[in-house]
Structure formats: structure tokens, C-alpha cells
């Protein structure tokens, strides 16, 4: 991996809060006080169940939402408050997103070359038509498609190929950070592997950092350098992939790991996934603070809970 931890972090999220007011008395706290860093060239995996706020974080970072509170800095720029035009332009060029469902995120009435080339059009990055076509072809090749594909429409592709188009669109501007929001969960297992490998190859070549948002921990393990586990808007546990998988501390992380199906029938048949229910667990996420387990491995909980987790109790 080309992750570079000596450099300054590419993305720094500090105390991010994203609230959605529903009525005068009720506010959904989708993301509550989340902090993490992404270094240049690394892949940070954000995992959690649906409703845990992982997609919201991605959308707040790329500024599809206006964060309620907290500071986001990206490549030396503060992108959390009101942005100047030049900051905004830079952000739009250097941070890109890959979406979950390639069929829904590609315009069905546009040709592939126009879908991918749109970013070039908007930013006026070419002088001649030929130059535009050349750049589109080059990126298509990089994601494993042929240049003949440029004149086709999204419906003429299979699911895996469509997601390659989505990746090509995100990569054409050579972004520093790509937010991949559940970008493989709509695909078959065998195709998921192809897309994950492709993303890794591209990372090695271009040095882009990924924020990989997913609920499937087994794929996250393959692609991520570090992982953050989210639940109900709180970042409960964060550390390197190895730290999280070999020594999960928080009961929620443990339950997530135990739910991964193992392709080994004799083991899997009689295995029961650990049960975890926030309401009955007696934990209070809002009171938690960060506790260091070892190295870069942190758990968010109260002092008393931390002592219990470390003693191996639930």
C-alpha cells in the first residue's frame, strides 16, 4: 500500500455533527461528534449498519450537506463552513464520489463518453474535441473497458461494467480523495472482487486516498488500511484493519464481526451470531470519550465501560 502516514493528513474531520431537524421538538442526530483522519494514499473503511450515519458522513465531507458543527479540513483547506469560490472549485475537482447503484447514478440518456467527460466539460479542461475523447479513452482503459464502449449507453452494460464507468467518472480529474459509498454492495460476489481489485490497482497507480463506506466487513478487510466502526452516529472503534479484526474491543464491533458468514459449512451451520442491542446493552454512547487500546486502536466509551471491555466482559 502506498499510504503515507508521515505527511499531513489529507482529510481531517474533527467533532463532526450532522443534525436534521424534523420538527421543532425532534431532531435526528445522524452523525454525533465524529473525528477521524485520512492520510494521502490510504484507504479508510467506514463500516456500520444502515442508519449508522456512514453515508451521511460521506455526504457531509463532500459538502452535499452543510455540517451542523465541527471542522473538516481537506488538503490544507477548511471546507466546513462557507467556502470561497476557489475553495469550492478545488474541492469539486479533488474530491469525487462513487455511488452505490450504478444504474441509478448514471444518466440513462447520455453516452458513456459524455457521462465521463462531463467533469472535463464543466472545468474546461481540454482544447479540442479529440483531446477530450483521448482522455476519456485513456480512463476507460484504466478501468478495464474498451474504447468501443465510449459510444454506448448505460443500459448496454452489465452491473459490474456500469460500476467501472462510475469509477472512471470519479477518476477522470485525478482526485486526491474518492468517497466510495457502498460502491460494491449492489454487485455479485465475483464481480465485487473484480471491482475491489480494480480500485486497489488504481490506488497504487494514482496514489488517491479512498474513504470506503460499506456494511460488508469481509470486503472492507481486503481494501482498507484502517477502519472506523460506526453505530447510531457515533464512531465507536477505530484502528488499523489488523487491530480491529484480531482484537475487537467494543461489543458492537464484536457482533458485526461475528455476523460475517464464513464459507465453511461445518463451522457455519451451528454458529449463532452474537446479539447486540444498544437499548439493552446499558451503554451510553453520548457519554463516551476516546480510550487508547494500543497503537492506533481507539475505542469510544466511558472509563467504566472501558475497564469492562478490557476485562473481556460484554
Amino acid at each position: 500500500m502506498a499510504a503515507n502516514y508521515n505527511e499531513a493528513p489529507l482529510l481531517e474531520v474533527e467533532g463532526l455533527k450532522q443534525y436534521f431537524p424534523i420538527s421543532s421538538t425532534y431532531t435526528v442526530k445522524a452523525v454525533d461528534d465524529v473525528s477521524f483522519k485520512v492520510y494521502p494514499g490510504e484507504t479508510y473503511g467506514l463500516v456500520g449498519e444502515s442508519g449508522s450515519g456512514k453515508s451521511t458522513i460521506g455526504r457531509s465531507i463532500i459538502r452535499l450537506y452543510d455540517p451542523t458543527e465541527g471542522k473538516i479540513s481537506f488538503a490544507g483547506m477548511d471546507i466546513s463552513g462557507k467556502m470561497s469560490k476557489s475553495t469550492k472549485d478545488k474541492l469539486r475537482m479533488q474530491m469525487q464520489m462513487i455511488f452505490q447503484d450504478p444504474m441509478a447514478s448514471l444518466n440513462p440518456r447520455k453516452k458513456i463518453k459524455d457521462i465521463i467527460g462531463e467533469a472535463l466539460d464543466v472545468n474546461k479542461l481540454y482544447n479540442t474535441r479529440e483531446e477530450r475523447d483521448r482522455r476519456v479513452e485513456a480512463i476507460l482503459q484504466k478501468v478495464g473497458l474498451a474504447k468501443e464502449h465510449a459510444d454506448r449507453y448505460p443500459h448496454q452494460f452489465s452491473g459490474g461494467q456500469r460500476q467501472r464507468v462510475g469509477i472512471a467518472r470519479a477518476l477522470i480529474l485525478n482526485p486526491k480523495l474518492v468517497i466510495a459509498d457502498e460502491c460494491i454492495s449492489a454487485l455479485d460476489v465475483s464481480i465485487q472482487a473484480q471491482v475491489v481489485n480494480l480500485m486497489k490497482d488504481i490506488q497504487e497507480e494514482t496514489g488517491a486516498a479512498y474513504l470506503f463506506i460499506a456494511h460488508d466487513l469481509s470486503m472492507v478487510k481486503y481494501i482498507s488500511d484502517r477502519i472506523g466502526v460506526l453505530h447510531l452516529g457515533h464512531l465507536l472503534e477505530t484502528g488499523t484493519t489488523d487491530e480491529i479484526f484480531s482484537n475487537p474491543i467494543h461489543p458492537y464491533t464484536k457482533s458485526l464481526l461475528s455476523a460475517i458468514p464464513i464459507p465453511n459449512p461445518e463451522l457455519e451451520k451451528n454458529r449463532i451470531a452474537l446479539n447486540y442491542d444498544y437499548k439493552t446493552s446499558g451503554l451510553d454512547y453520548t457519554k463516551g470519550t476516546e480510550h487508547l487500546v494500543s497503537g492506533t486502536h481507539y475505542v469510544k466509551c466511558t472509563d467504566e465501560e472501558f475497564a469492562r471491555f478490557m476485562a473481556g466482559e460484554q
Binding site: S190, N264, E266
Partner: protein, 378 residues
């Protein structure tokens, strides 16, 4: 499974062959498949999207699209009858006789009256689209029972409440009055399962029942389906592309590729002794939590377009182990054991001896070892 009990076959799909007429031409979606299913057992059908798994099950339920043409084949459904018609009363098992019907020969009306929802029920992939957003949960569960069994509303209500409790929903009475959007994804899928069970089916078809759900909820739903299957002694067919799910639930596995079954066997034969290169590929592509490899194996290429039929073995272009004959002649099913067979020329006695890839072999050895350490006798 249970040795002392006679295995009763309840579904027998023989040589099924289906073509879809489309404006682009004929799509030969199902190319001669055979599937057996016995009472109380679980069969999984595995394959990539477009391999024909869902079409096969739609045929078994008699709900194929209008442009489907069945070229040949039979779908024999066997059922117990002790009431007359197609009804079965479990309290009077002694008087029950086994009868059979070919679903492909019955008309739509008969199928709707006797089969759909009543004897064969289906759990679909996305609970948000398979539930009616304008109807309360209670009404949706009661609907089938009232239609099929003509029971009165109060009776249906009581049964529905019990069903909700059976599928693990608390506050069942309160939930009866709620609408689908008021429930979480996992709860909705539990409701769908309750609806499927409402008419006491003997066969439950689960079409990717957990693909739309989170992993931790997936585990819970699979455990639930297993529990009700055991309690009610019903047969379950799983359609899925996830081998992790298969490992958890299945007794027998059918691996499908391009409208054909390429390998069939019991669960241990498929996972510990696979013979077909496609099955090797599928198993290798599963993320493996036990190693530190940072590359995933992938099956090169993508599934074939069935609009253009290919001579020989449909998998040959993606198969690193393809022989010359694969481009000319489709391989027949080679029998390996009583339950295990695979359609690949590699099993022909004249073929060169080819072993499965070394990585997969190591992985299977490791899986076996882990299983043995946990007390299984392999």
C-alpha cells in the same frame, strides 16, 4: 438428515428448458436443468446474476413472464392430501395420500388457487417492494389466509398475531396496525416471512432474502428461517449468489451457470471437494478472513449474453482450465458420488489430470482443519 424417516420428494424439476422471446431475439435462459427437493431439506441454487436461478423458481411457482416459452420439461410437485382438493390437515396424517401435479400443465387459475402462497410460498429480495405500502401489516398477513382458507376475520387476526410472535416481532398487536414504512428493514423481512408462512406452505422459496439487509440482520433472518423450517418440517429453496449464506443454511447445493446446472452435490462435497472450475472460481472469490493476502481472486470476464448461443461449454471463455473439446461439445454431467456430479470435461477419463488451484486447495485444507478442531467429523 433423519435416517429413520423416509425422504419424501416434494419437487422434481426434470429437464426444464425455457426461452424468452424478446424484440432482440430469443434468449435461451434455461437449458435443461434437473433439481430434486425433499421434504424438510434445504437446497441452495447459486450463480451470478443472469444465470437463470430466479427464472427456474418462477417457473416452479407458475409465475413466468408472458414472453416465456417452455420448450420441454416437467415440474412435478408432490403433495399430501387428506381433505380433498389439494388440502392437507397435519392432525390427520394417517389418512393422507401422496399425489402429484405437473405445474407446467396446470392453468393459471388452478395454480393461483392451490399453489401460490398456499403450498409454495416465496420470500423476495427487497421487503420494501414486496409489501404493500398502503396496507397495514396485519391486513397483509391475514389476506392470504382469508382468501385461501375462508376463515373468519377474528380467527385470521389471532393467527396473524401468533405468526408475528413466531417470527420474533415484539408487541405483535401493536405492529398489526402499523404500515411497512414504520418498520426497519429486518422487521419488514420478518413480516414477509410471516406472510409466507401464513398458509402453512410445504415449500418456501427464498429469492436472495438477505441481499438488501445488513450482515448482522442477515444472520438473524437466516437463523429465523432455519428455526421455522425445523419446527414446521418444510422444504426451503434458497436462491443466492453468496456462498457464505449457502454454508450456513443448505443441505444440497446446485451451482448454475448460463441456464445450466454445472455442479450439484451435498454441502460438504461442494465446499470441501468441488470439481467444476466455475465452483472453484466462486469459492476462491469469497473474501477469506483467515489470510493476509491483499488481492482477491476473480473469475475473469463476465457472464455470457444468452442472446447469442455459443457452441460447446458456455463457461469455456472464462475458464483457465478449458480443453479444446470445450469449444465444440457441451460437457455432460459426470457422476462423482451418489449425490455429487459436475458438468466439466475435466472429469472425463481421457482428460488430462487437473487439480484445483493451489490457493483454493490450501484454503479448503485449512477450512477442514478448523472444522475438525471444532468437533466436526469430516
Amino acid at each position: 438428515m433423519t435416517e429413520e424417516k423416509k425422504r419424501e420428494k416434494i419437487l422434481d424439476i426434470k429437464n426444464l428448458d425455457i426461452t424468452f422471446k424478446t424484440t432482440a431475439g430469443d434468449v435461451h435462459a434455461i437449458r435443461g436443468i434437473n433439481i430434486d427437493l425433499f421434504q424438510g431439506e434445504t437446497v441452495a441454487i447459486v450463480g451470478e446474476s443472469g444465470s437463470g436461478k430466479s427464472v427456474t423458481m418462477r417457473a416452479a411457482m407458475g409465475i413466468l413472464a408472458k414472453n416465456a416459452v417452455v420448450n420441454s420439461g416437467e415440474i412435478i410437485y408432490r403433495y399430501r392430501d387428506n381433505v380433498g382438493g389439494i388440502d392437507y390437515n397435519p392432525d390427520d396424517d394417517a389418512n393422507a395420500t401422496w399425489k402429484e401435479a405437473d405445474i407446467l400443465k396446470q392453468d393459471k387459475k388452478w395454480i393461483r388457487k392451490h399453489i401460490n402462497g398456499r403450498r409454495i410460498a416465496m420470500v423476495f429480495q427487497d421487503p420494501m417492494t414486496s409489501l404493500d405500502p398502503t396496507m397495514t401489516i396485519g391486513k397483509q398477513i391475514m389476506e392470504g389466509m382469508i382468501w385461501h382458507y375462508h376463515i373468519d376475520k377474528q380467527d385470521a387476526y389471532n393467527r396473524a398475531v401468533n405468526l408475528l410472535k413466531e417470527v420474533g416481532i415484539e408487541d405483535a398487536e401493536k405492529r398489526m396496525k402499523q404500515y411497512p414504512h414504520q418498520l426497519s428493514g429486518g422487521m419488514r423481512q420478518r413480516v414477509v416471512i410471516a406472510i409466507a408462512l401464513s398458509c402453512n406452505p410445504d415449500l418456501l422459496i427464498c429469492d436472495e432474502p438477505t441481499t438488501a439487509l445488513d450482515v448482522n440482520i442477515q444472520a438473524k433472518i437466516l437463523e429465523l428461517i432455519k428455526k421455522v423450517q425445523k419446527e414446521r418440517d418444510i422444504a426451503v429453496i434458497y436462491i443466492t449468489h453468496d456462498l457464505g449464506v449457502v454454508a450456513k443454511v443448505a443441505d444440497y447445493v446446485n451451482v448454475m451457470y448460463a441456464g445450466k446446472i454445472v455442479e450439484v452435490g451435498n454441502i460438504n462435497e461442494i465446499f470441501y471437494d468441488p470439481k467444476h472450475p466455475y465452483t472453484w472460481g466462486l469459492l476462491s472469490a469469497m473474501p477469506d478472513l483467515g489470510t493476509d493476502d491483499d488481492r482477491l481472486y476473480t473469475i475473469p470476464g463476465s457472464p455470457p449474453n444468452l442472446l447469442h448461443e455459443k457452441e460447446g461449454d458456455a463457461f469455456a471463455p472464462r475458464n483457465a482450465y478449458a480443453l479444446e473439446i470445450d469449444d465444440k461439445l457441451e460437457p455432460p454431467m459426470f457422476q462423482i458420488t451418489e449425490t455429487h456430479s459436475a458438468a466439466t470435461w475435466l472429469l472425463d477419463p481421457r482428460a488430462p489430470k487437473v487439480e484445483m488451484p493451489a490457493e483454493l486447495k490450501n484454503r479448503i485444507e485449512r477450512m477442514k482443519k478448523e472444522a475438525k478442531e471444532n468437533g466436526s467429523e469430516l
